[in-house]
């Protein structure tokens, strides 16, 4: 393998989103006829890297060479033309079209200028067979297929484009165990046919079984490359964590507070995303939600906040069962819940509206009498909040979109603190904000807990969970797999349980439920 010339190289690739650095002088070399695994924590830059490879985003600097000559991709279609095909995490299938339509979508076979449906059917059947998914009918509509079948169609669609380099980004995350086995056979066959495969996964056992070569990414850089199997799981985890930055976290209280339980869930299930979750949060406690991204943490927070329909199980507030049917019900009245949502730009703020309007938006009912806003009271409370959170803004009447990411996030938090919530749910609040603001938020979180708030805190940053939380619940596949407390709350334990490499191989046992 080492004797062959590299098929594809990326050198000195950098990419920034606003002020946030996603990739910094990253390198990658891909060889034909091998499976190359890419590892890294959430936000290490893996997704950006492959988006650049696939022509979805353009790099700020750096060069790419294919077969030794330099290339640039203006669009996904251009990358496809060059033989680079990516299977994305977010599906690129068109729901109202049939499986066969989707498989040939970018280049349908034509006869007399019209799509040749017979040829299309043939291509689709071949591609499905090659992907090991001939049980899927080419005429079925994609929207009628379950997620795992759609993922198989994605793979078939990629194969129909006759790729030279195939990128699989968490392509197995939605698959059943039986499908995973079939996909592996396909991938190994493709390797023997001379394709280059890039495989991105959080599942260590998959990588061990499949990969020839591994590259670890951390903080937007490739930090290590090694032949698969030459390092132990422990060593790999160490590489992924690194020791690049450390946060200053406020001290935790010595022992768990003996306060009453405020928020409790019993056997909470929803669709196929939440699986029998039970947990409780006491007043004054910061409870973390850990695990890989997309294991049901966000859904759990939405479930508490009254957004999800068809919940099974019980939610209790102050020990009494409640039924919360809307964010209005969750935030108003006795419950007093607040949710700092996932995406501050689309869910937390109205970017074109002013800082003032955004700050008072969640507390309008408290700031008004008979529907008329008491502007003096509004001003007082806003001044308090701007002071408390040290929000840096050129004024209260400028659009909130003009603020920096960190200050925007402070506005989202402040707008909820204006209601003095008793229960605070945070959905990855430090994503994409600067280190200084992060530290202020850690302090604030502890301060709120000390003042008696019950806090449920989801973060994709493991450091943060360890530094801020009294306890961390690790989710996997919509279920709480482990609870880490006190001295047991270490990075190693967190990552190991997030990757579910803890001996008990859960995947095989419950593979068919998707």
């Amino acid at each position: 393998m080492d004797g062959t010339a590299p098929l594809f190289r990326m050198e000195g690739i950098s990419k920034r989103y606003g002020g946030v650095r996603a990739l910094e002088k990253a390198e990658l070399t891909v060889t034909a006829g091998s499976i190359h695994a890419i590892l890294g924590e959430n936000g290490a830059g893996k997704s950006t890297l492959i988006k650049i490879m696939a022509g979805v985003v353009a790099p700020d600097e750096g060069r790419m060479t294919l077969d030794g000559s330099e290339v640039t991709f203006a669009s996904p279609a251009a990358a496809n033309q060059s033989g680079i095909v990516c299977i994305f995490q977010e599906l690129s299938l068109i729901p109202e079209l049939s499986v066969a339509d989707n498989i040939v979508i970018s280049n349908p076979p034509k006869r007399f200028g019209m799509i040749d449906r017979k040829a299309q059917r043939k291509i689709a059947e071949e591609a499905l067979a090659r992907a090991g998914a001939s049980d899927i009918h080419p005429r079925a509509l994609v929207k009628d297929l379950p997620l795992s079948r759609r993922q198989m169609v994605e793979i078939a669609k990629a194969l129909a484009r006759k790729p030279r380099i195939l990128i699989l980004d968490e392509a197995t995350s939605a698959l059943t165990a039986a499908d995973v086995a079939r996909v592996f056979e396909v991938l190994k066959r493709l390797r023997s046919e001379g394709l280059a495969l890039l495989y991105i996964s959080h599942r260590m056992n998959e990588i061990a079984e499949l990969a020839d070569h591994c590259t670890v990414f951390r903080n937007g850089r490739n930090v290590a490359s090694y032949p698969a199997g030459s390092k132990s799981d422990n060593e790999v985890v160490e590489l992924m964590i690194g020791r690049e930055y450390s946060h200053i976290f406020p001290p935790k209280p010595a022992s768990a507070p003996a306060a009453a339980t405020v928020l409790e869930a019993r056997n909470l299930s929803w669709a196929d995303r939440l699986d029998n979750i039970s947990l409780s949060v006491r007043a004054g406690e910061v409870v973390g939600l850990g695990g890989l991204d997309g294991q049901g943490q966000r859904e759990l927070l939405l479930a508490f906040f009254g957004v999800l329909r068809g919940l099974r199980g019980e939610v209790l507030i102050d020990g009494r069962p409640v039924s919360i049917a809307s964010p209005t019900a969750a935030s108003h009245g006795r419950i007093g819940m607040a949710l700092i949502p996932e995406d501050r730009k689309t869910e937390g703020l109205m970017l074109p509206m002013t800082v003032r309007e955004n700050l008072s938006f969640a507390a309008l009912d408290r700031l008004s009498k008979a529907g008329i806003i008491d502007r003096a009271a509004e001003q007082r409370l806003i001044d308090d909040m701007v002071g408390l959170l040290a929000i840096k803004t050129a004024g209260l009447d400028i659009p909130v979109g003009a603020l920096s990411g960190g200050n925007q996030q402070k506005v989202v938090i402040a707008k909820w603190l204006m209601r003095q919530p008793r229960i605070i749910l945070l959905n990855d609040p430090t994503r994409g904000i600067d280190v200084g603001t992060k530290q202020e938020l850690y302090q604030l979180m502890r301060k709120l807990a000390d003042a008696g708030a019950a806090i449920l805190f989801y973060s994709t940053d493991y450091d943060e969970l360890i530094g801020c939380c009294d306890r961390v619940l690790v989710l996997y596949d919509g279920a709480v797999k482990r609870e880490l407390v006190g001295a047991g709350l270490t990075e190693h334990a967190l990552i190991a349980s997030a990757l579910n490499i803890h001996g008990d191989d859960v995947r095989i046992g419950q593979g068919e439920h998707a």
Partner: protein, 332 residues
């Protein structure tokens, strides 16, 4: 991209202006500038154009459109649209006149009854949009058709014989303050109420919030469905009230009296700088838009421009203005 274009052009001009103007929406300024240009053009054509009588007469004509456009603006601020205006106007007018036929109680209740009919149409729209999440343009078209059907059945397909009450005529054509038509006062009152509702109440904040990002408004604990519902009810009510005034102005209701108000009411709101996508716009802009449209109509009719030319000019002006201000962001 649209932001930068108009920021670039307008920014250059606005930079040399006093501060209070610089802070105003460039779209509103443009609309007012167009009004001045139209007046000047008109005065070239006829000296009467700048006389107080003529201007007051224009303001009076504008107030009917102003009342209707007020409701339309509320709905557009939410990022929706109300296409049931034509028959909400006609239903308000016809029902008010019809009530007048039922003795003194009917005469007394004529105006509220007419407005309530419009509110009812608006509530059906609101249920469809807020609770059934049917696209507003579809459900409001459908309620428009149903309202039309009801009116046709009621009137037998002819213009109704009932005439407007004295109160309706007084509101539309009378003078409480010497020199100022009542219709103008009514528009001013409704406008003031709308400005207050939009800027000083939690309802108004919620309207802008929903128009900007309904998802964020919902997650902020706003009962977004109730707000949408109320806005459509208000829009229906104001359309019907506009119809009541028009019936008072003409002394009776007519079959297709509302048709002439759909496009102008949308145009007035949009030309006044309110984003058709919702969330952005001021009532001052709508006032400017209403006056602009009315003057445009007036000039075209003074110039004896046939209906055909008016329709074409409307359409072209609206598309042109939208291309300047109302474009969606580029997808990539």
């Amino acid at each position: 991209m649209s932001e930068t274009t108009h920021g670039g052009i307008m920014g250059g001009i606005a930079g040399r202006m006093p501060k209070f103007i610089r802070r105003a929406d460039p779209a509103v300024l443009t609309a007012f500038a167009c009004i001045v240009v139209l007046l000047l053009l008109g005065s070239l054509y006829s000296r009467n154009f700048l006389s107080p009588e003529y201007l007051l007469q224009q303001l009076k004509v504008a107030s009917f459109l102003g009342v209707i456009a007020t409701g339309m603006m509320l709905v557009i601020l939410l990022g929706q649209i109300d296409l049931s205006v034509p028959w909400a106007v006609a239903a308000g007018a016809m029902m008010a006149c019809a009530a007048a036929a039922y003795g003194s109680v009917g005469v007394a209740l004529a105006i509220p009854f007419g407005v309530l009919c419009g509110v009812a149409i608006g509530i059906v729209n609101g249920i469809g949009v807020a609770y059934l999440r049917i696209p507003s343009m579809i459900i409001t078209l459908a309620t428009n058709a149903v309202a039309q059907g009801l009116m046709v059945v009621y009137t037998g397909g002819f213009s109704p014989q009932d005439s407007a009450t004295a109160a309706m005529r007084y509101l539309a054509t009378g003078f409480t303050i010497p020199g100022v038509p009542n219709a103008v006062i009514i528009w001013a009152l409704i406008g003031a109420a709308m400005v207050f509702a939009l800027t000083r109440t939690s309802f108004g904040r919620a309207v802008y919030g929903i128009g900007n990002r309904e998802r964020a408004a919902y997650l902020s604990g706003i009962d977004t469905r109730r707000v949408v519902m109320i806005a459509f009810a208000v829009s229906g009510g104001l359309s019907a009230f506009g119809g009541v005034l028009l019936a008072g102005y003409a002394s009776k209701a007519a079959q297709s009296m509302g048709d002439a108000y759909l496009l102008p009411s949308i145009a007035a709101v949009v030309l006044g700088g309110t984003s058709i996508l919702g969330g952005r716009g001021s009532y001052l802009g709508t006032v400017a838009g209403v006056i602009l449209i009315t003057l445009l109509q007036s000039i075209l009719s003074v110039m004896q421009m046939p209906e055909a030319g008016r329709q074409i000019i409307y359409g072209v002006v609206i598309v042109a203005m939208l291309l300047l201000y109302g474009r969606a962001p580029a997808s990539r």
